[in-house]
C-alpha cells in the first residue's frame, strides 16, 4: 500500500505541474493561462499531499 500511495502522490504532483504549465487542459474552462489551471494544480497537489500522509501512515511501526 505504501508503494501505491507514493506512486499516486508522484503522479498527482506531476499532473499538477502539467496543469500549472497549461500542458493539460482536461476539465478546464479555456486557454492555457486561465486561472482554472491554477485551481486544478492546487487541488492535485493537495491530493498528492494526502497520498504522502497516507504513505506515512503505512510506514509507521505497528504495535
Amino acid at each position: 500500500m505504501r508503494v501505491i500511495a507514493i506512486f499516486l502522490a508522484i503522479v498527482l504532483f506531476v499532473l499538477g505541474i502539467l496543469y500549472g504549465l497549461g500542458k493539460v487542459n482536461a476539465f478546464t474552462e479555456s486557454g492555457a493561462q486561465h486561472p482554472h489551471h491554477v485551481t486544478h494544480m492546487v487541488v492535485l497537489w493537495a491530493l498528492a499531499l494526502l497520498c504522502v500522509i497516507w504513505a506515512r501512515f503505512q510506514s509507521a511501526p505497528r504495535r
Partner: protein, 279 residues
C-alpha cells in the same frame, strides 16, 4: 451591501446561497450585474473569504484542537481514538469528494444551470430533499435507535456526507442543507449534523475564496476594492450571526421550516421565470 448580507446569511442557512445570488438579482432587475466582470468576481471572492473567516472565528477553539490533533497524528504516523483527531480525519476525507468534483464540474454546471429557472427548480428540489431527509430520519429512529456523535461516524459515512455536499455545485441546492440531510441519515442528530456541516463547509468555502484571490488583481478589479472589503466584512458579520443562530436553532428544531421556504420560494421564482418576468 444587500448582496453581501444575502451571501453571508444564505451561505449557512440551508437555502442555497448560489441559488439566491442568481434569483434575487434577477427578481430585483439588477441589470448592471455582469457575472463575468472582473470587479464583480473580485467582490464575490471577498464575500466568500469573509464568510469562511466568520466560520473559522466561530469554531476557532474546535479548529485549533482539530489542527493540533491532525498534526500530532501525522507526526506519530498513526491514528488514535482522540476525539478531535477522529473529527479532523473525517473532515479531511469528507472534503476530498467536493474538491475533486468541484474542479471537474463547477464550470459546466454553472454554464448549464446558472439561470433563474433551473436555480428555482433546484431550490424546490432542495426543499423536498429536506422533507425526505426528515422523514427518513424519523423512520430510522422510530424504534428509539440512538444518535451518534460526530467522532463515531465511519469513514464511508464521512465520504457519503462529503459526496452529498458536492451536489451544492447545483445552484439552488444548499451545501449546509444537503450535508445536514446526509448527516441525519448517517445517524447524527440535528445539532451535530449542523456542526459537522459547518465544519465541513469551512475549508471548502475558504479554499474557494483563496484560490480565486488572483481575480482581485485582475485589471478593473481595484475599482470595487473598498466596496468588496466592506461587503466582505458585512458578509462575515452576517455569517457569524447566522451560524450562532443556527447552532442554537438546531438544538431543538429541524429542517422542515427551511424545506417549506425553499419549496414555496422556488415555486414562485420558477413561475416568474416561466412567464418571463425574471430572466
Amino acid at each position: 451591501m444587500v448582496l453581501a448580507l444575502l451571501q453571508g446569511v444564505s451561505e449557512l442557512f440551508p437555502i442555497s446561497s448560489l441559488g439566491h445570488t442568481i434569483l434575487i438579482p434577477a427578481a430585483l432587475q439588477w441589470k448592471n450585474i455582469d457575472r463575468s466582470n472582473p470587479s464583480f468576481l473580485a467582490f464575490v471572492v471577498v464575500l466568500h473569504i469573509g464568510t469562511a473567516l466568520a466560520l473559522v472565528v466561530f469554531y476557532r477553539k474546535e479548529w485549533a484542537a482539530i489542527v493540533r490533533a491532525l498534526f500530532a497524528s501525522i507526526v506519530r504516523g498513526k491514528t488514535s481514538d482522540d476525539r478531535d483527531e477522529r473529527i479532523g480525519w473525517r473532515l479531511v476525507i469528507g472534503t476530498i469528494p467536493v474538491g475533486i468534483l468541484g474542479v471537474i464540474f463547477e464550470v459546466p454546471v454553472r454554464k448549464l444551470f446558472g439561470s433563474p429557472a433551473p436555480a428555482a427548480l433546484f431550490l424546490m428540489a432542495n426543499g423536498l430533499l429536506m422533507f425526505l431527509g426528515e422523514f427518513l430520519r424519523r423512520r430510522q429512529h422510530a424504534s428509539g435507535a440512538a444518535y451518534k456523535p460526530i467522532e463515531a461516524l465511519g469513514y464511508p459515512a464521512s465520504v457519503a456526507i462529503g459526496f452529498a455536499q458536492s451536489f451544492a455545485l447545483l445552484p439552488g441546492i444548499s451545501r449546509s442543507g444537503i450535508s445536514m440531510v446526509a448527516g441525519l441519515l448517517c445517524d447524527l442528530d440535528h445539532e451535530n449534523a449542523a456542526r459537522y456541516s459547518f465544519l465541513l463547509a469551512t475549508p471548502v468555502i475558504l479554499a474557494a475564496g483563496l484560490l480565486e484571490i488572483p481575480k482581485l488583481f485582475a485589471p478593473g478589479a481595484h475599482l470595487v476594492l473598498i466596496q468588496a472589503i466592506l461587503g466582505g466584512i458585512a458578509a462575515g458579520i452576517a455569517a457569524y450571526l447566522s451560524v450562532a443562530f443556527l447552532t442554537r436553532y438546531f438544538r431543538s428544531n429541524d429542517l422542515r421550516p427551511f424545506g417549506w421556504y425553499c419549496v414555496v420560494v422556488g415555486a414562485i421564482f420558477f413561475l416568474l421565470a416561466r412567464k418571463g418576468v425574471i430572466t
